[in-house]
Symmetry: C2
Subunit: 366 residues, 2 copies
């Protein structure tokens, strides 16, 4: 027991030592709802919460250091529950939610983003390289919500189509298209909302780093049991929607370059799995493939893909980046052009994928 007591004192000392280091320059998260002060983030990446629930017995936040079960809040005299993450969070976007007296709710201060098969609270830890996805005073493209007919699922399905600046004014120009998929638990809103794909593209185009292209996001049918769920996922349903319904609709309603050398498919996480399955089932449809934290190809996988221009593989440094690097080397050794990218200091989260898009976009359609 004596040893335990000493250990406890030591831990307590280390904790208070850590706490003293927290800078008090907290600012509202950039993803807060209009006029909301909390949640706040400081320059080190600590997050501070403040939730009103005067009669609650316990309030905790799912956001916190890995494996430590989030952040428990304590009630102050005015009935607000407050608390700060035990340590700094990784740079970039994170989903989170509250647990209030055993129920799951969102933080009323934060905007919501679709992830984990629900609209979750979102927070942004400013990244040292955040300029590449910032809203700047540059020409902006538009994000078009389309409803395309889907006979195979007997409904009109939604997609978002990013058209670059100039699309509406230079009306003779035709563009390549990247079909870009979200991950499990997310939907077609993820890449533009959490991913800021439109701002990444606007900035790349304004800096002359890429030739403009179109991006299309639709729901990958990843979340419901009726399409196989995550365990028995069956790609054929989404493959039909994408290749027989969406692509022909986009090619007939937008000024696309309607051929494989101007068509790419990429996806993050389970969207990468989908990309891998569809590109292997349909080797003649796309000539650029991207798997972002979403698996790898072997040379064997791609032996019939004679016209393939590029494979892009990426991961966060806190994921399994070696696997991506090794797969890239094996592809290159087999004479297939492959490029890998590792996002430093990030895990299976959206900053990895924002950076991956930023790295991949200049490599497409060259």
């Amino acid at each position: 027991m004596k040893k335990l007591a000493v250990l406890f004192l030591c831990l307590n000392f280390l904790w208070s030592f850590g706490q003293e280091d927290i800078k008090q320059d907290f600012k509202p998260s950039t993803l807060n709802q209009p006029g909301q002060e909390y949640p706040m983030v400081n320059s080190q990446g600590y997050v501070r919460f403040k939730i009103k629930a005067p009669a609650a017995d316990s309030v905790s936040v799912s956001l916190g250091l890995g494996g430590r079960g989030g952040t428990k809040l304590t009630k102050n005299e005015e009935g607000f529950w407050t608390g700060t993450t035990e340590g700094p969070m990784d740079e970039g976007f994170h989903y989170y939610h509250l647990t209030v007296d055993g129920g799951t709710f969102n933080d009323p201060g934060a905007k919501n983003y679709y992830g984990s098969v629900r609209w979750e609270s979102g927070i942004e830890i400013p990244a040292h390289d955040e300029e590449f996805y910032a809203l700047k005073n540059v020409p902006h493209g538009t994000v078009q919500q389309i409803l395309f007919p889907s006979p195979s699922t007997d409904t009109s399905r939604r997609a978002f189509v990013y058209t670059p600046p100039g699309y509406h004014t230079d009306t003779d120009k035709e563009y390549p298209v990247l079909y870009l998929q979200h991950g499990w638990g997310e939907d077609e809103t993820a890449w533009m909302n959490q991913g800021k794909a439109n701002l990444i593209m606007d900035n790349l185009i304004a800096e002359g780093k890429i030739e403009p292209f179109i991006i299309v996001n639709t729901y990958g049918m990843t979340n419901e049991i009726k399409w196989g769920g995550i365990r028995d996922f069956d790609i054929k349903h989404f493959q039909t929607v994408l290749t027989e319904e969406l692509i022909p609709y986009v090619d007939s309603h937008f000024r696309t370059l309607d051929n494989p050398e101007n068509r790419a498919m990429a996806g993050l996480s389970m969207g990468g799995m989908e990309t891998r399955m569809i590109t292997m089932n349909k080797p003649d449809l796309f000539q650029y493939y991207g798997l972002l934290s979403g698996g790898t190809y072997s040379p064997e996988d791609l032996k019939a893909h004679d016209d393939l221009k590029l494979v892009f593989l990426s991961a966060g440094s806190k994921e399994n980046p070696e696997r991506v690097k090794q797969a890239t080397k094996a592809l290159n050794d087999a004479g297939i052009k492959a490029i890998s990218y590792v996002s430093e200091g990030t895990a299976h989260e959206f900053l990895t994928w924002r950076r991956s898009l930023y790295q991949m976009a200049p490599l497409l359609f060259n």
Copy 2:
């Protein structure tokens, strides 16, 4: 005391009598998050809630019959709080939120809509005339999110532009434009999300009831103190954004008919107030004006508006429809073409405005 006891028994009897009348054909609200069973709505318009919060002491819902303070939920053995509204709700869309142990949260089962200066839960009571805003297998227009430069507010501002079916394929055609404003506490997302303006237009066009036109929604700067708040609202800030920044941007980036006879402005509630102020300050900019639950014009107001084609005034029957009818008569008596519309059985809510748009659209640009 005896009298009180009898009264209590009577009330209890009447209440239980009422409860027996509730049909048990509850179905998930059409605005629920994917896979969520609750909230549910029955064919009479009663709403049933089920919220998990096993350790909470009280959970209530802001939705309920007018003036009765919402619906209190009771906890069952599994830790779920359940309850049903005391009576049927009006048809159409309603905002609501939960109060859990004194804190304000959203219903984790429902999707969120921006109203009351926060993202609120939304519920849909199926309306007898819901076909006019249903998603149907007809050609669909697109809803384009644009970011337009706003030197007066030193940022890029967001707007949504509905372009009708055919806009992307019949690339020589030019279209009239309706600038359509949301109400206080809402933002530029309201008309397409809550209002289903895109589906209303798609259906009207498919039925040949209107010639296609463009709709533009942007934020009316109604919610912050910096623009005067609701009490000291100063239209000049938004008027500059709309008339000097947004309209020129839309006219240069979309195929519009760029003249007053093909330009309309309308708004709901505070967006109607804004429409009234801007059209009176700028009598040469628009030739169609619509105030939806948003005030009236007098003949005196419009005496300098020589080219005015139409004033459209509307309200829900549970608002103050007489005022709208009288104003319309006074305008007509003065030789000004005005048409009024009263939405039966609705209050200051979105079904009133969906129906108003449906009634107003065929009257514009003729």
